[in-house]
């Protein structure tokens, strides 16, 4: 990884190294974005924006932080900015974001057709943004709290609390349903 970072900082090798970065991180970043915005086309556009921003600002990446942390930060920032723009465009408040995302989930054509999964996505979409981010990273990506802490700039204790609340809400929902 250090070698990749060094190659990114050298203008002669940066382009090739960046292609490796795209190959390595496009999938995890895509899922992170997709779980926030729900729609494939939007996630695809945002993923492209993430790499475009990373490439144009590669000189500002000095290797102090981990490359993954830096990329995840850009991806999350892009996702949250997109959701904010969508809320403004549709005249939807923060509280109504869940129903906005539920509509997106219903209209999404890139799903495996399982109703339970669709419902799970809607329940996760109803969580507050921070809890949703933490839940996605921990539950689906199995990331360590320390890594999530670096990305979100939140203490490990607060992340554990967020995750605990999120899991409880989801378990409660499905327990009551069954």
């Amino acid at each position: 990884m250090e070698q990749l970072t060094r190659r990114l900082q050298d203008s002669a090798t940066a382009r090739m190294a960046f292609n490796e970065v795209i190959t390595l991180y496009s999938e995890p970043l895509y899922w992170q974005i997709r779980r926030m915005v729900q729609n494939h086309d939007d996630a695809n556009d945002l993923l492209q924006n993430v790499f475009m921003k990373a490439w144009t600002n590669i000189e500002s990446f000095r290797g102090d932080a981990k490359l993954t942390t830096w990329l995840y930060k850009i991806a999350i920032n892009e996702s949250l900015t997109f959701l904010e723009k969508e809320r403004k465009r549709l005249g939807v408040s923060m509280d109504e974001e869940a129903s906005m995302l539920a509509n997106t989930i219903e209209a999404d054509e890139w799903i495996d057709g399982d109703e339970l999964k669709k419902e799970l996505r809607k329940v996760i979409a109803a969580l507050p943004e921070k809890q949703r981010l933490v839940f996605n990273m921990k539950y689906f990506d199995d990331m360590k709290y320390e890594s999530i802490s670096d990305i979100l700039g939140t203490s490990v204790g607060a992340l554990k609390a967020s995750y605990h609340h999120a899991v409880n809400k989801i378990v409660k929902y499905f327990s009551e349903k069954s």
């Binding site: 203008s11 940066a14 382009r15 960046f18 292609n19 795209i22 190959t23 496009s26 999938e27 895509y30 899922w31 997709r34 779980r35 494939h40 695809n44 993923l47 492209q48 790499f51 475009m52 490439w55 144009t56 590669i58 999404d108 890139w110 799903i111 495996d112 057709g113 399982d114 339970l116 999964k117 669709k118 799970l120 996505r121 996760i124 539950y139 689906f140 554990k160 995750y163 605990h164 899991v167 409880n168 989801i170 378990v171 499905f174 327990s175 069954s178």
Partner: protein
């Protein structure tokens, strides 16, 4: 319930997949598509072209500094120095007149006031200094 247990319970209830999919070959094609979209990096090193101002700037600053020092010295000289300064009674008639006026000098300039004389004056005028 502990986080690990509740996590396992949730995994048993709903699994670890959220049912989202992508078009076939999406990730394998993505890197190539992204590469074609990336702009070339501006890497050429422009030779440093110095403008005329940039070339003369250090000398201009040096000259300004000396001019400032010269002005300062002139001002000091004008105020207090030498027989031709503005504070010299030889060249300043107002100052010469003021110096020749004993009352003015007593009132405003002479500082040789004896404290005991001053207290005597106060007693004489009926003022008790112990109350001050």
């Amino acid at each position: 319930m502990k986080d690990d247990k509740i996590d396992i319970l949730l995994a048993e209830m709903i699994g670890r997949k959220d049912g989202m999919t992508v078009p076939d070959g999406y990730f394998s094609d993505f890197a190539a598509r992204m590469d074609s979209m990336l702009p070339d990096r501006v890497t050429e090193n422009h030779p440093a072209v110095r403008t005329r101002w940039q070339m003369i700037r250090p000398y201009a600053y040096l000259a300004a500094m000396f001019a400032g020092i010269w002005c300062m010295l002139q001002m000091f000289h004008m105020i207090g120095g030498g027989a031709h300064g503005i504070m010299s009674p030889d060249t300043n008639p107002i100052l010469a007149e003021a110096i020749s006026d004993d009352t003015f000098m007593d009132d405003y300039y002479c500082m040789d006031v004896d404290e005991l004389d001053f207290i005597d004056d106060l007693y004489a005028s009926g003022l008790d200094v112990t109350n001050l």
